[in-house]
Amino acid sequence: MTTDEAKTIIFDVLSRVAPEISPDEVEHDIDLSEQLDLDSMDYLNWLIGISEVTGIDIPQRDASHFLTIDGAATYLVR
């Protein structure tokens, strides 16, 4: 998976979890929950969605990689 492919998936899932958010408004290197006002349930639903689409399991200890779009993309690509 390339970084671009990963980001496509990340945003795809994000638009399902938070349909009112426009992808162009999202900064890729800033804490996602904070800038988009996601609550813990939205955030978990986002992780679950990414995991379902990619088939990549995201254990609890790795959740810290998913604070930003860039961090999430890096995790998925590696």
């Binding site: 399902r16 349909p19 988009l36 609550d39 813990s40 349930m41 978990l44």
Partner: protein, 437 residues
């Protein structure tokens, strides 16, 4: 015969627009089945049937007319009753290709379906309003017939139609054919060039023009909240209690429990808090129920309202129905589903109207304490602030523990501070033994 009326859509909601029918005459319906969609100030609400039987007639078609709660919208029949429209699977009702047989029913179905408006969430509706896009006739490409942002943006670009066959809604086409009107001679009123029935010569101008305010979901929701909260502060003598609850043990247990779980089975602290509240309500049942016509009507089940703040502005507080019948995992699954549907504007009428008590958890927003206002006709609301490390005294020493500030607002007509205090103490006690939740 059962007259099916537009049910209550929540305490602060007295009207809605019929957006779509999900059943047709002749369909068998079961209690709890979603049969229609209604748009309210708080998004699309899925209207459930409260009887077993079948659909005899749909009395109204989807339109932008606002209907009051209690307006008859369909006629249902129990299976024992004789039929008007004809029930396809009734004994002796073989397929009759005649004007009085089931074929008739099919005709009605088609007509209704042709009129069904696409499903639109309030944020998308807002975008459409901003771009001046008419949502009727827009072709949705999203999951389950949802209109997406892209659909709206595409429709905001004027489409030229070089086609010889004018674009028209099926209804306009039928109507034009019946009256021998050439659609090519009709000037469409819509900017996308689609001819609607009202464009035909002689069509009555009965389109309802809603005030601009009504088309802004944010402002409409604000008004709905204003109505409810005004009523609450006018009618309910609130009292407020608060206490700090030590969550050190609960959070440790949660981290351990989640360590071995897959993402989909992971449990959030919010579910733990909701579960503790549900159990504690059985110890102080006078906090669970409704104040109706001057007296308290306790509820024997807990329909746990959960306040969900919407990023488009405002909030909704749908209920986890029969929360007391769910274990911790069940609460978590229901909460996840409820929040996702609150965001996409897909809540059910029962969820919007039957909460017996509500919980608000502003912890994710970073404030320490919340002082809730009761949602009438409920008689209590529980609040949780931010879960954070704070200094606490344990056996004479100051140590850092994870804590949460819990609060209770209750109706003094029903309970006193003593009973309310017992409730918060019960929540505290239950959270000290998370493995038993």
């Amino acid at each position: 015969m059962i007259e099916f009326k537009l049910p209550s859509l929540g305490a602060d909601m007295d009207e809605g627009m019929l957006v779509a029918w999900l059943v047709a005459p002749g369909d068998i319906v079961e209690r709890g089945q979603v049969i229609a969609e209604v748009e309210t100030d708080k998004g699309i609400i899925e209207v459930e049937c409260w009887e077993n039987g079948y659909v005899d007639q749909l009395l109204l078609k989807p339109s932008s007319t606002k209907l009051s709660v209690g307006t008859p919208i369909a006629v249902l029949r129990t299976t024992a009753e004789p039929t008007l429209a004809g029930r396809p699977d009734a004994p002796g009702a073989e397929v009759i290709a005649g004007p009085s047989g089931p074929r008739d029913t099919v005709g009605v179905v088609e007509e209704v379906e042709a009129d069904v408006a696409p499903a639109v969430s309030p944020p998308i509706r807002h975008l459409a309003h901003e771009l001046g896009v008419d949502l009727d006739g827009l072709e949705p490409t999203g999951d389950g017939g949802q209109v997406t942002r892209d659909d709206v943006r595409r429709a905001s670009v004027p489409i030229s139609v070089p086609d010889a066959r004018p674009r028209a809604t099926p209804r306009a086409r039928r109507s034009a054919a019946a009256r021998a009107i050439d659609l090519g001679s009709v000037t469409p009123s819509r900017r996308d060039g689609l001819i609607v029935e009202d464009d035909l010569p002689g069509a009555a101008t009965r389109r309802v023009v809603a005030p601009a305010d009504d088309q802004d979901p944010g402002r409409a929701m604000r008004r709905a909240i204003a109505r409810s909260m005004e009523r609450s502060k006018r009618e309910i003598p609130h009292y407020y209690l608060g206490m700090q609850i030590d969550l050190d043990e609960a959070m440790r247990w949660l981290v351990e429990t989640n360590e071995d779980r897959s993402l989909t089975k992971r449990i959030l602290p919010a579910a733990l808090l909701l579960r503790a509240v549900t159990i504690a309500l059985h110890e102080v049942p006078d906090l669970n129920g409704h104040w109706i016509d001057g007296s308290f009507k306790p509820s024997h089940v807990v329909h746990l309202g959960v306040a969900v703040s919407l990023r488009t502005g405002g909030l909704v507080a749908p209920a986890i129905l029969n929360a007391d019948g769910l274990d911790l995992e069940g609460i978590m699954v229901s909460l996840s589903d409820l929040v996702a549907r609150a965001r996409s504007g897909r809540l059910r009428s029962s969820e919007m109207s039957e909460a017996t008590v509500t919980v608000t958890s502003l912890g994710d927003r970073g404030v320490d304490t919340v002082f809730p206002i009761i949602v009438p006709p409920q008689v209590a609301m529980v609040g949780f602030g931010k879960i954070a490390e704070r200094p606490v005294v344990v056996e004479g020493s100051i140590v850092a523990h994870t804590v949460v500030s819990a609060s209770l607002t209750a109706d003094h007509r029903v309970t006193d501070g003593h009973g309310g205090g017992l409730f918060l103490l019960a929540v505290d006690r239950l959270l000290q033994e998370p493995q038993n939740l």
